[in-house]
Protein backbone atom coordinates (compact mmCIF):
# COMPACT_ATOMS: atom_id res chain seq x y z
CA UNK A 1 0.00 0.00 0.00
CA UNK A 2 2.99 2.32 0.39
CA UNK A 3 3.33 2.50 -3.39
CA UNK A 4 -0.32 3.49 -3.58
CA UNK A 5 0.12 6.28 -1.03
CA UNK A 6 3.15 7.59 -2.94
CA UNK A 7 1.17 7.51 -6.17
CA UNK A 8 -1.76 9.27 -4.53
CA UNK A 9 0.55 11.98 -3.18
CA UNK A 10 2.11 12.54 -6.61
CA UNK A 11 -1.25 12.52 -8.38
CA UNK A 12 -2.84 15.00 -6.06
CA UNK A 13 0.17 17.31 -5.66
CA UNK A 14 -0.65 19.99 -8.18
CA UNK A 15 0.68 22.68 -5.87
CA UNK A 16 3.68 23.82 -7.94
CA UNK A 17 1.91 23.62 -11.30
CA UNK A 18 -0.35 26.46 -10.10
CA UNK A 19 2.53 28.81 -9.12
CA UNK A 20 3.47 31.80 -11.28
CA UNK A 21 7.02 30.77 -12.11
CA UNK A 22 9.16 30.69 -15.25
CA UNK A 23 8.30 27.16 -16.44
CA UNK A 24 4.64 27.41 -15.37
CA UNK A 25 4.26 30.44 -17.65
CA UNK A 26 5.50 28.55 -20.72
CA UNK A 27 3.10 27.11 -23.28
CA UNK A 28 2.90 23.37 -22.52
CA UNK A 29 3.75 22.36 -26.11
CA UNK A 30 6.94 24.44 -25.99
CA UNK A 31 7.80 23.20 -22.50
CA UNK A 32 7.51 19.55 -23.60
CA UNK A 33 9.72 20.28 -26.62
CA UNK A 34 12.29 22.17 -24.49
CA UNK A 35 12.52 19.45 -21.83
CA UNK A 36 12.68 16.76 -24.51
CA UNK A 37 15.56 18.59 -26.24
CA UNK A 38 17.40 18.94 -22.93
CA UNK A 39 16.83 15.24 -22.20
CA UNK A 40 18.30 14.43 -25.61
CA UNK A 41 21.28 16.67 -24.80
CA UNK A 42 21.78 14.66 -21.59
CA UNK A 43 21.38 11.38 -23.48
CA UNK A 44 23.94 12.27 -26.16
CA UNK A 45 26.44 13.94 -23.85
CA UNK A 46 29.85 12.32 -23.42
CA UNK A 47 31.24 15.21 -21.42
CA UNK A 48 30.86 15.27 -17.62
CA UNK A 49 31.23 19.10 -17.46
CA UNK A 50 28.38 19.57 -19.91
CA UNK A 51 26.23 17.21 -17.80
CA UNK A 52 27.05 19.18 -14.63
CA UNK A 53 26.19 22.39 -16.48
CA UNK A 54 22.81 20.92 -17.44
CA UNK A 55 22.21 19.83 -13.84
CA UNK A 56 22.97 23.38 -12.62
CA UNK A 57 20.48 24.65 -15.21
CA UNK A 58 17.87 22.28 -13.71
CA UNK A 59 18.46 23.79 -10.26
CA UNK A 60 18.16 27.34 -11.65
CA UNK A 61 14.99 26.44 -13.52
CA UNK A 62 13.56 24.95 -10.32
CA UNK A 63 14.40 28.16 -8.43
CA UNK A 64 12.95 30.47 -11.11
CA UNK A 65 9.84 28.27 -11.21
CA UNK A 66 9.29 28.86 -7.49
CA UNK A 67 9.88 25.23 -6.54
CA UNK A 68 11.36 24.90 -3.07
CA UNK A 69 14.93 23.67 -3.55
CA UNK A 70 14.68 21.32 -0.56
CA UNK A 71 11.55 19.71 -2.00
CA UNK A 72 13.12 19.48 -5.46
CA UNK A 73 16.32 17.86 -4.17
CA UNK A 74 14.36 15.42 -2.01
CA UNK A 75 12.15 14.50 -4.94
CA UNK A 76 15.02 14.05 -7.40
CA UNK A 77 17.72 12.45 -5.23
CA UNK A 78 15.67 9.80 -3.46
CA UNK A 79 14.52 6.72 -5.41
CA UNK A 80 16.08 6.48 -8.88
CA UNK A 81 19.38 8.40 -8.46
CA UNK A 82 20.04 6.83 -5.05
CA UNK A 83 19.17 3.40 -6.47
CA UNK A 84 21.48 4.11 -9.43
CA UNK A 85 24.23 5.15 -7.03
CA UNK A 86 24.13 1.72 -5.37
CA UNK A 87 23.95 0.02 -8.77
CA UNK A 88 27.03 1.94 -9.87
CA UNK A 89 29.10 1.07 -6.76
CA UNK A 90 30.36 -2.37 -7.93
CA UNK A 91 31.34 -0.75 -11.24
CA UNK A 92 34.12 1.09 -9.34
CA UNK A 93 36.02 -2.20 -9.05
CA UNK A 94 38.46 -3.65 -11.55
CA UNK A 95 36.28 -6.79 -11.93
CA UNK A 96 33.79 -4.70 -13.91
CA UNK A 97 35.91 -1.73 -14.97
CA UNK A 98 39.50 -2.74 -15.67
CA UNK A 99 41.97 0.14 -15.74
CA UNK A 100 44.48 2.14 -13.69
CA UNK A 101 44.07 1.24 -9.99
CA UNK A 102 43.78 4.14 -7.54
CA UNK A 103 42.97 2.22 -4.36
CA UNK A 104 43.13 -1.44 -3.35
CA UNK A 105 41.70 -3.27 -0.37
CA UNK A 106 41.10 -6.81 0.89
CA UNK A 107 37.61 -8.23 1.29
CA UNK A 108 37.31 -11.80 2.64
CA UNK A 109 40.82 -12.58 1.41
CA UNK A 110 40.21 -11.20 -2.09
CA UNK A 111 42.15 -8.14 -3.25
CA UNK A 112 39.85 -5.63 -4.92
CA UNK A 113 40.99 -2.52 -6.79
CA UNK A 114 39.07 0.67 -7.46
CA UNK A 115 40.07 1.95 -10.87
CA UNK A 116 40.16 5.42 -12.38
CA UNK A 117 37.93 4.24 -15.24
CA UNK A 118 35.51 2.74 -12.71
CA UNK A 119 35.20 6.02 -10.76
CA UNK A 120 34.79 8.08 -13.94
CA UNK A 121 32.16 5.68 -15.33
CA UNK A 122 30.18 5.54 -12.07
CA UNK A 123 30.21 9.35 -11.64
CA UNK A 124 29.19 9.83 -15.27
CA UNK A 125 26.35 7.31 -14.94
CA UNK A 126 25.10 8.83 -11.69
CA UNK A 127 25.18 12.46 -12.93
CA UNK A 128 23.44 11.48 -16.18
CA UNK A 129 20.62 9.69 -14.30
CA UNK A 130 20.31 12.55 -11.78
CA UNK A 131 20.10 15.23 -14.50
CA UNK A 132 17.54 13.21 -16.51
CA UNK A 133 15.37 12.61 -13.42
CA UNK A 134 15.60 16.33 -12.53
CA UNK A 135 14.46 17.38 -16.02
CA UNK A 136 11.54 14.95 -15.93
CA UNK A 137 10.62 16.21 -12.44
CA UNK A 138 10.66 19.84 -13.67
CA UNK A 139 8.21 18.94 -16.42
CA UNK A 140 5.89 17.02 -14.10
CA UNK A 141 5.97 19.56 -11.26
CA UNK A 142 5.33 22.65 -13.36
CA UNK A 143 2.62 21.30 -15.67
CA UNK A 144 -0.96 20.39 -14.99
CA UNK A 145 -1.25 16.73 -15.87
CA UNK A 146 -4.16 17.03 -18.29
CA UNK A 147 -2.32 19.78 -20.23
CA UNK A 148 0.77 17.58 -20.46
CA UNK A 149 -1.19 14.70 -21.99
CA UNK A 150 -2.94 17.07 -24.41
CA UNK A 151 0.38 18.53 -25.55
CA UNK A 152 1.44 15.09 -26.81
CA UNK A 153 -0.58 15.81 -29.93
CA UNK A 154 2.24 18.01 -31.26
CA UNK A 155 4.35 14.86 -31.50
CA UNK A 156 1.65 13.35 -33.73
CA UNK A 157 0.81 10.66 -31.19
CA UNK A 158 -2.24 8.79 -32.62
CA UNK A 159 -5.52 10.18 -31.35
CA UNK A 160 -6.55 6.82 -29.84
CA UNK A 161 -3.47 7.00 -27.58
CA UNK A 162 -4.06 10.59 -26.49
CA UNK A 163 -7.72 9.95 -25.75
CA UNK A 164 -6.94 6.70 -23.94
CA UNK A 165 -4.24 8.46 -21.90
CA UNK A 166 -6.55 11.29 -20.87
CA UNK A 167 -9.31 8.91 -19.83
CA UNK A 168 -6.91 6.46 -18.22
CA UNK A 169 -5.42 9.22 -16.10
CA UNK A 170 -8.86 10.07 -14.72
CA UNK A 171 -9.68 6.44 -13.90
CA UNK A 172 -6.39 5.94 -12.10
CA UNK A 173 -7.73 8.33 -9.40
CA UNK A 174 -10.95 6.37 -9.13
CA UNK A 175 -9.21 2.99 -8.98
CA UNK A 176 -6.83 4.20 -6.28
CA UNK A 177 -9.85 5.22 -4.20
CA UNK A 178 -11.56 1.84 -4.81
CA UNK A 179 -8.44 -0.10 -3.78
CA UNK A 180 -7.87 2.02 -0.70
CA UNK A 181 -11.47 1.55 0.41
CA UNK A 182 -11.30 -2.20 -0.26
CA UNK A 183 -8.11 -2.53 1.79
CA UNK A 184 -9.63 -0.50 4.59
CA UNK A 185 -12.69 -2.79 4.57
CA UNK A 186 -10.46 -5.90 4.67
CA UNK A 187 -8.36 -4.42 7.47
CA UNK A 188 -11.44 -3.57 9.53
CA UNK A 189 -12.79 -7.10 9.11
CA UNK A 190 -9.73 -9.35 9.39
CA UNK A 191 -6.98 -7.09 10.77
CA UNK A 192 -3.37 -7.70 9.73
CA UNK A 193 -2.83 -10.68 7.40
CA UNK A 194 0.19 -12.76 8.49
CA UNK A 195 -0.01 -15.61 5.98
CA UNK A 196 1.81 -15.07 2.66
CA UNK A 197 -0.66 -17.33 0.85
CA UNK A 198 -3.65 -15.44 2.25
CA UNK A 199 -2.00 -12.12 1.40
CA UNK A 200 -1.47 -13.21 -2.21
CA UNK A 201 -5.08 -14.41 -2.41
CA UNK A 202 -6.36 -11.03 -1.14
CA UNK A 203 -4.31 -9.18 -3.77
CA UNK A 204 -5.53 -11.51 -6.54
CA UNK A 205 -9.17 -11.19 -5.48
CA UNK A 206 -8.72 -7.41 -5.36
CA UNK A 207 -7.28 -7.31 -8.88
CA UNK A 208 -10.03 -9.59 -10.23
CA UNK A 209 -12.68 -7.54 -8.41
CA UNK A 210 -11.22 -4.36 -9.88
CA UNK A 211 -11.43 -5.85 -13.36
CA UNK A 212 -15.11 -6.78 -12.79
CA UNK A 213 -15.88 -3.23 -11.67
CA UNK A 214 -13.91 -1.80 -14.60
CA UNK A 215 -15.96 -3.83 -17.03
CA UNK A 216 -19.22 -2.63 -15.53
CA UNK A 217 -17.89 0.93 -15.49
CA UNK A 218 -17.04 1.06 -19.21
CA UNK A 219 -20.74 0.68 -20.09
CA UNK A 220 -21.66 3.65 -17.92
CA UNK A 221 -18.77 5.74 -19.24
CA UNK A 222 -19.91 5.04 -22.80
CA UNK A 223 -23.44 6.20 -21.96
CA UNK A 224 -21.98 9.36 -20.42
CA UNK A 225 -19.88 9.95 -23.58
CA UNK A 226 -22.96 9.51 -25.80
CA UNK A 227 -24.93 11.98 -23.71
CA UNK A 228 -22.16 14.55 -24.30
CA UNK A 229 -22.32 14.12 -28.06
CA UNK A 230 -19.62 11.49 -28.75
CA UNK A 231 -20.17 9.94 -32.18
CA UNK A 232 -17.12 7.75 -32.73
CA UNK A 233 -14.40 10.40 -33.19
CA UNK A 234 -13.08 12.29 -30.18
CA UNK A 235 -12.89 16.09 -30.42
CA UNK A 236 -10.53 18.08 -28.23
CA UNK A 237 -10.47 21.75 -27.36
CA UNK A 238 -7.05 23.36 -27.75
CA UNK A 239 -6.30 25.98 -25.14
CA UNK A 240 -2.62 26.54 -25.85
CA UNK A 241 -1.27 30.07 -26.21
CA UNK A 242 2.34 30.81 -27.09
CA UNK A 243 4.24 34.12 -26.90
CA UNK A 244 7.73 35.35 -27.83
CA UNK A 245 9.18 34.14 -24.50
CA UNK A 246 8.24 30.57 -25.48
CA UNK A 247 10.05 30.96 -28.80
CA UNK A 248 13.11 32.43 -27.05
CA UNK A 249 13.17 29.53 -24.55
CA UNK A 250 12.86 26.96 -27.34
CA UNK A 251 15.64 28.66 -29.33
CA UNK A 252 17.84 28.62 -26.21
CA UNK A 253 17.17 24.89 -25.75
CA UNK A 254 18.02 24.20 -29.41
CA UNK A 255 21.25 26.22 -29.07
CA UNK A 256 22.17 24.38 -25.88
CA UNK A 257 21.51 21.00 -27.52
CA UNK A 258 23.62 21.99 -30.56
CA UNK A 259 26.38 23.38 -28.30
CA UNK A 260 26.44 20.06 -26.47
CA UNK A 261 26.90 18.13 -29.70
CA UNK A 262 29.55 20.61 -30.91
CA UNK A 263 31.45 20.48 -27.60
CA UNK A 264 31.43 16.72 -27.83
CA UNK A 265 32.74 16.61 -31.38
CA UNK A 266 35.48 19.15 -30.46
CA UNK A 267 36.54 16.96 -27.51
CA UNK A 268 36.60 13.82 -29.68
CA UNK A 269 38.60 15.34 -32.53
Amino acid sequence: MSALSFLKDSVFSDEYAGCRGFLQARDTRFKVAIIFLLLLAVLFSKNIYFLILLYMLCLFLAMFSKISLGFFLKRTWIFIPLFSFFIALPALLDIFSPGRPVLSFNLAGITLRITQQGIAGAVFFFVRVLTSVSLAALLVLTTRHYALLKALRIFRVPQIFVMTMGMCYRYVYLFIEIIENTYLAIKSRVGFVHSVKKGQMIVAVNIAGLWQRSYILHDRVYSAMLSRGYCGEPKAIDEFNSDFKDWISLTAAILLFSAGLLWQSCCLS
Binding site: A3, S84, S97, Q117, R128, Y169, W211, Y222, G232
Partner: protein, 229 residues
Protein backbone atom coordinates in the same frame (compact mmCIF):
# COMPACT_ATOMS: atom_id res chain seq x y z
CA UNK B 1 11.95 -3.58 -14.97
CA UNK B 2 11.13 0.08 -15.60
CA UNK B 3 14.33 1.39 -17.20
CA UNK B 4 15.07 5.00 -16.11
CA UNK B 5 16.66 7.72 -18.26
CA UNK B 6 20.44 7.52 -18.48
CA UNK B 7 20.76 3.72 -18.41
CA UNK B 8 20.53 3.23 -22.18
CA UNK B 9 22.46 5.01 -24.90
CA UNK B 10 20.94 6.93 -27.83
CA UNK B 11 21.31 3.96 -30.22
CA UNK B 12 19.24 1.59 -28.03
CA UNK B 13 16.64 4.27 -27.24
CA UNK B 14 16.37 5.17 -30.94
CA UNK B 15 16.09 1.57 -32.16
CA UNK B 16 13.43 0.63 -29.58
CA UNK B 17 11.38 3.75 -30.43
CA UNK B 18 11.77 2.87 -34.13
CA UNK B 19 10.52 -0.68 -33.44
CA UNK B 20 7.63 0.48 -31.27
CA UNK B 21 6.25 3.18 -33.62
CA UNK B 22 5.01 0.67 -36.25
CA UNK B 23 3.81 -1.67 -33.47
CA UNK B 24 1.73 1.17 -31.96
CA UNK B 25 0.42 2.15 -35.39
CA UNK B 26 -0.58 -1.44 -36.25
CA UNK B 27 -2.08 -1.90 -32.77
CA UNK B 28 -4.15 1.29 -33.06
CA UNK B 29 -5.36 0.30 -36.54
CA UNK B 30 -6.29 -3.24 -35.46
CA UNK B 31 -7.95 -2.05 -32.26
CA UNK B 32 -9.87 0.68 -34.11
CA UNK B 33 -11.11 -1.94 -36.56
CA UNK B 34 -11.98 -4.66 -34.05
CA UNK B 35 -13.09 -2.61 -31.09
CA UNK B 36 -16.73 -1.62 -31.23
CA UNK B 37 -17.41 2.08 -30.50
CA UNK B 38 -19.04 0.97 -27.29
CA UNK B 39 -15.79 -0.63 -26.14
CA UNK B 40 -13.60 2.46 -26.61
CA UNK B 41 -13.77 3.50 -22.92
CA UNK B 42 -12.87 -0.10 -22.06
CA UNK B 43 -9.41 0.49 -23.50
CA UNK B 44 -8.83 3.53 -21.27
CA UNK B 45 -10.20 1.72 -18.24
CA UNK B 46 -7.98 -1.28 -19.06
CA UNK B 47 -4.96 1.04 -19.24
CA UNK B 48 -5.86 2.44 -15.82
CA UNK B 49 -6.32 -1.14 -14.58
CA UNK B 50 -2.92 -2.11 -15.96
CA UNK B 51 -1.39 0.99 -14.31
CA UNK B 52 -2.90 0.15 -10.94
CA UNK B 53 -1.85 -3.54 -11.06
CA UNK B 54 1.78 -2.39 -11.07
CA UNK B 55 1.11 -0.60 -7.77
CA UNK B 56 0.03 -3.71 -5.84
CA UNK B 57 2.72 -4.97 -3.49
CA UNK B 58 2.40 -8.74 -3.28
CA UNK B 59 3.77 -10.60 -0.22
CA UNK B 60 6.72 -12.90 -0.97
CA UNK B 61 8.06 -15.55 1.47
CA UNK B 62 10.84 -13.98 3.52
CA UNK B 63 8.91 -10.88 4.49
CA UNK B 64 9.48 -8.77 1.38
CA UNK B 65 7.12 -7.74 -1.39
CA UNK B 66 7.24 -7.49 -5.17
CA UNK B 67 4.91 -6.21 -7.83
CA UNK B 68 3.43 -7.79 -10.92
CA UNK B 69 3.48 -6.09 -14.34
CA UNK B 70 0.06 -7.51 -15.26
CA UNK B 71 0.87 -7.51 -18.99
CA UNK B 72 0.00 -11.21 -19.46
CA UNK B 73 -3.23 -10.75 -17.54
CA UNK B 74 -4.14 -7.78 -19.74
CA UNK B 75 -3.35 -9.90 -22.85
CA UNK B 76 -5.56 -12.77 -21.61
CA UNK B 77 -8.43 -10.39 -20.84
CA UNK B 78 -8.17 -8.01 -23.82
CA UNK B 79 -6.20 -9.81 -26.53
CA UNK B 80 -2.61 -8.91 -27.46
CA UNK B 81 -3.12 -5.73 -29.55
CA UNK B 82 -5.50 -4.00 -27.14
CA UNK B 83 -3.26 -5.10 -24.25
CA UNK B 84 -0.24 -3.65 -26.09
CA UNK B 85 -1.99 -0.25 -26.21
CA UNK B 86 -3.26 -0.49 -22.62
CA UNK B 87 0.15 -1.42 -21.15
CA UNK B 88 1.93 1.18 -23.35
CA UNK B 89 -0.44 3.91 -22.17
CA UNK B 90 0.11 2.86 -18.55
CA UNK B 91 3.90 2.96 -19.04
CA UNK B 92 3.82 6.33 -20.82
CA UNK B 93 1.72 7.89 -18.06
CA UNK B 94 4.04 6.41 -15.44
CA UNK B 95 7.07 7.91 -17.19
CA UNK B 96 5.55 11.30 -17.97
CA UNK B 97 3.60 11.97 -14.80
CA UNK B 98 5.30 9.97 -12.08
CA UNK B 99 8.91 9.61 -13.25
CA UNK B 100 8.69 5.81 -13.07
CA UNK B 101 10.72 4.76 -16.10
CA UNK B 102 12.56 7.25 -18.27
CA UNK B 103 11.10 9.44 -21.01
CA UNK B 104 13.91 8.58 -23.43
CA UNK B 105 13.47 4.91 -22.41
CA UNK B 106 9.71 4.79 -23.12
CA UNK B 107 10.40 2.89 -26.36
CA UNK B 108 12.56 0.33 -24.53
CA UNK B 109 10.12 -0.11 -21.64
CA UNK B 110 7.17 -0.50 -24.00
CA UNK B 111 9.15 -2.93 -26.15
CA UNK B 112 9.90 -5.15 -23.13
CA UNK B 113 6.62 -4.98 -21.24
CA UNK B 114 3.94 -3.96 -23.77
CA UNK B 115 5.25 -5.93 -26.74
CA UNK B 116 7.57 -8.80 -25.76
CA UNK B 117 5.79 -9.72 -22.53
CA UNK B 118 2.27 -9.22 -23.87
CA UNK B 119 2.74 -11.25 -27.06
CA UNK B 120 4.92 -13.98 -25.50
CA UNK B 121 2.43 -14.37 -22.63
CA UNK B 122 -0.60 -14.37 -24.89
CA UNK B 123 0.71 -17.03 -27.28
CA UNK B 124 2.06 -19.27 -24.49
CA UNK B 125 -1.36 -19.04 -22.80
CA UNK B 126 -3.13 -19.78 -26.09
CA UNK B 127 -0.85 -22.76 -26.87
CA UNK B 128 -1.32 -24.40 -23.47
CA UNK B 129 -5.04 -23.72 -23.14
CA UNK B 130 -5.93 -24.59 -26.75
CA UNK B 131 -9.11 -26.67 -26.97
CA UNK B 132 -10.00 -26.28 -23.28
CA UNK B 133 -13.27 -24.89 -21.98
CA UNK B 134 -13.34 -21.43 -20.38
CA UNK B 135 -13.64 -22.92 -16.87
CA UNK B 136 -11.03 -25.65 -17.40
CA UNK B 137 -8.24 -25.86 -14.82
CA UNK B 138 -5.81 -26.09 -17.75
CA UNK B 139 -6.41 -22.35 -18.23
CA UNK B 140 -5.16 -21.65 -14.70
CA UNK B 141 -2.00 -23.68 -15.38
CA UNK B 142 -1.65 -21.90 -18.75
CA UNK B 143 -1.96 -18.47 -17.08
CA UNK B 144 0.63 -19.46 -14.45
CA UNK B 145 3.18 -20.71 -16.98
CA UNK B 146 2.53 -17.81 -19.38
CA UNK B 147 2.94 -15.26 -16.56
CA UNK B 148 6.21 -16.81 -15.38
CA UNK B 149 7.81 -17.35 -18.79
CA UNK B 150 6.68 -14.08 -20.38
CA UNK B 151 8.03 -11.94 -17.54
CA UNK B 152 11.36 -13.74 -17.72
CA UNK B 153 11.54 -13.32 -21.49
CA UNK B 154 10.88 -9.59 -21.00
CA UNK B 155 13.56 -9.46 -18.28
CA UNK B 156 16.00 -11.19 -20.63
CA UNK B 157 15.23 -8.59 -23.29
CA UNK B 158 15.84 -5.75 -20.78
CA UNK B 159 19.10 -7.35 -19.60
CA UNK B 160 20.36 -7.67 -23.19
CA UNK B 161 19.69 -3.94 -23.61
CA UNK B 162 21.66 -3.19 -20.43
CA UNK B 163 24.48 -5.56 -21.35
CA UNK B 164 24.95 -4.03 -24.79
CA UNK B 165 25.68 -0.54 -23.40
CA UNK B 166 29.38 -1.03 -22.50
CA UNK B 167 29.90 -2.60 -25.93
CA UNK B 168 28.13 0.21 -27.81
CA UNK B 169 29.23 3.23 -25.77
CA UNK B 170 32.70 3.44 -24.26
CA UNK B 171 35.43 6.08 -24.21
CA UNK B 172 38.92 5.37 -25.56
CA UNK B 173 40.15 4.74 -21.99
CA UNK B 174 37.47 2.07 -21.46
CA UNK B 175 35.14 4.18 -19.33
CA UNK B 176 31.46 3.17 -19.57
CA UNK B 177 29.07 5.97 -20.56
CA UNK B 178 25.71 4.37 -19.73
CA UNK B 179 24.84 1.14 -17.85
CA UNK B 180 28.33 -0.03 -16.82
CA UNK B 181 27.80 -3.81 -16.71
CA UNK B 182 28.50 -6.23 -19.56
CA UNK B 183 26.09 -8.74 -21.06
CA UNK B 184 27.02 -11.64 -18.76
CA UNK B 185 26.64 -9.62 -15.53
CA UNK B 186 23.43 -7.90 -16.67
CA UNK B 187 21.78 -11.17 -17.77
CA UNK B 188 22.74 -12.99 -14.56
CA UNK B 189 21.60 -10.10 -12.33
CA UNK B 190 18.29 -9.49 -14.09
CA UNK B 191 17.36 -13.10 -14.71
CA UNK B 192 18.24 -14.36 -11.25
CA UNK B 193 15.86 -11.91 -9.54
CA UNK B 194 13.11 -12.51 -12.08
CA UNK B 195 13.50 -16.30 -12.19
CA UNK B 196 13.60 -16.51 -8.38
CA UNK B 197 11.18 -13.77 -7.27
CA UNK B 198 9.28 -11.56 -9.72
CA UNK B 199 8.43 -14.34 -12.21
CA UNK B 200 6.60 -16.21 -9.45
CA UNK B 201 4.74 -13.06 -8.41
CA UNK B 202 3.54 -12.51 -11.99
CA UNK B 203 2.65 -16.22 -12.35
CA UNK B 204 0.73 -16.46 -9.07
CA UNK B 205 -1.25 -13.27 -9.64
CA UNK B 206 -2.12 -14.11 -13.28
CA UNK B 207 -3.24 -17.64 -12.33
CA UNK B 208 -5.21 -16.56 -9.24
CA UNK B 209 -7.07 -13.83 -11.12
CA UNK B 210 -7.98 -16.28 -13.93
CA UNK B 211 -9.13 -18.81 -11.30
CA UNK B 212 -11.25 -16.19 -9.53
CA UNK B 213 -12.84 -14.98 -12.76
CA UNK B 214 -13.58 -18.57 -13.85
CA UNK B 215 -15.60 -18.98 -10.66
CA UNK B 216 -17.20 -15.55 -10.38
CA UNK B 217 -17.57 -14.15 -13.88
CA UNK B 218 -16.30 -16.45 -16.69
CA UNK B 219 -17.78 -14.15 -19.35
CA UNK B 220 -14.94 -11.69 -18.68
CA UNK B 221 -12.42 -14.32 -19.80
CA UNK B 222 -14.22 -14.56 -23.15
CA UNK B 223 -14.16 -10.83 -23.61
CA UNK B 224 -11.19 -10.69 -25.99
CA UNK B 225 -13.05 -13.09 -28.32
CA UNK B 226 -16.03 -10.74 -28.04
CA UNK B 227 -13.81 -7.78 -28.92
CA UNK B 228 -12.63 -9.59 -32.05
CA UNK B 229 -16.17 -10.61 -33.13
Amino acid sequence: MHIPDGYLGPATCGVTYAVMFPVWLIASKIVKKTLKTKQVPLLAISAAFSFVIMMFNIPIPGGTTGHAVGAVLAAILLGPWAACIAVSVALIIQALLFGDGGITAIGANCFNMAFVEVFAGYYIYRAISAGSTIVSSRRIVAAFIAGYLALNIAALSASIMFGLQPVLHKTASGQALYCPYGLKTAVIAMLSEHLLVFGWVEAIITALVVKYLQKQDPVLLKMQEEVKA
